[in-house]
Symmetry: C2
Subunit: 185 residues, 2 copies
Amino acid sequence: MREVTYGGAVSLDGFLAGVDGAIDWLHFSKDVHQAMAEYWKGVDTILMGRKTWDFAASQGGGRFGGPMRTIVFSRTLREISDAHVELINVDAANFVRDLKRQPGGEICLMGGGELAQSLLAAGLVDRIRLNVHPILLGSGIPTFRDAGKRVHLKLESCREIEGGCLLAYYEVISTRNGEPARDGL
Amino acid sequence: MREVTYGGAVSLDGFLAGVDGAIDWLHFSKDVHQAMAEYWKGVDTILMGRKTWDFAASQGGGRFGGPMRTIVFSRTLREISDAHVELINVDAANFVRDLKRQPGGEICLMGGGELAQSLLAAGLVDRIRLNVHPILLGSGIPTFRDAGKRVHLKLESCREIEGGCLLAYYEVISTRNGEPARDGL
C-alpha cells in the first residue's frame, strides 16, 4: 500500500504560513535541502487542495516536472490550464483511498491544512513530517485543523538541524486502528 | 533579573488541554518527573490566570505548598479563599515587570494561554519549555494565542523522552530585542 505523507515547515505555534500566506520566516539550509532531497526520492505523486494550487501557481510554480504526477482537488475549479496537472472534483477521500491501492511510490500531501484535515479524518495519512521553526507567528494558516477525532502518532525520529529547527517525523497510528471519532472524551 | 518560563505538555497541534479541559492524553513517565523536578528546583513563584486557578482548584489543588509564592491574576474575582494565594487585580504585565526586578528565583507561568499571550506580547516571557506529545487533539485550549507580533525563539535543547514525547526548550529572543509589532509582514 502506498503511503501518504503530510507535513512541511511549521512555526512552533502551528502555522504553515503567516498572515496573507507569509513565508518570509522560513529558514532554508543545507540540512533542509538534504532532508527534502532524501524525502523526494521516493515520491511520485503530489496532492494539493485548490488554495495550495492557487498559491503555488501565483508563485510561478505548482506543477512539478518529470515523472511527478500532480493532482489538485477542488469542487469549484472547472479546469486547470496545465495539461500535466489533474483536476479532481470528486470526493478526495474516496479518490485517495483508491490511489493508495494502485502501484506506485509515496504520495506527498501538500499543505494548506484543509485537504489534510479531510484525509486525516478519513484515516488516509500515514506519516507526518514537520520542520518546526523556532518562532511564534501568532496567526496565519494552521498546519492542522480539527479532524473531528484524536489522531494518535508515533514519534519515528527527531533531530535538530541548522537554525534551531527540529525535524520531527511521526507515523500515524490511528489510521491503522480505525479509531472511532472523539475517543476518550 | 528573574526569568519567567512558560510551557508544559502540549499536543502536536498545539493544545494544552482537549475539549472541556481533557488531560487524559497526558503521558507521565520517570523522564517527565525527572525533568519537572529539575525545573522546579529553581522556581519560587507561580503565576496563573483565573481560568487556570479555577481548574486547579477544581482538581483539589491550586496552591503550592512550602515557600512557593502563588499569584492569581483576575479582573473579576474579588477574593480567593486561601490566605496563601495572592489575588492580583491590576494589569498583569506591569505587575510582572516589577516582579522580575525583585530578588528571587525563577517565575513559572502556568497555562491557560491567555495570561501567556499578554505576557508574551509585553516581552516578559524569557523561556518556553514544551513537552510535545505525539497526538493531534483537533480542538481544545491552545498553548499559544496571538501575541499580536512575531516572537522569535532560540532552540536551547530538544530530546526524546519515554512515550515518544519531545522535551523542547527555547529561549525567547525578541523579549530582549524589543521587537516592534508585526515585524516583516
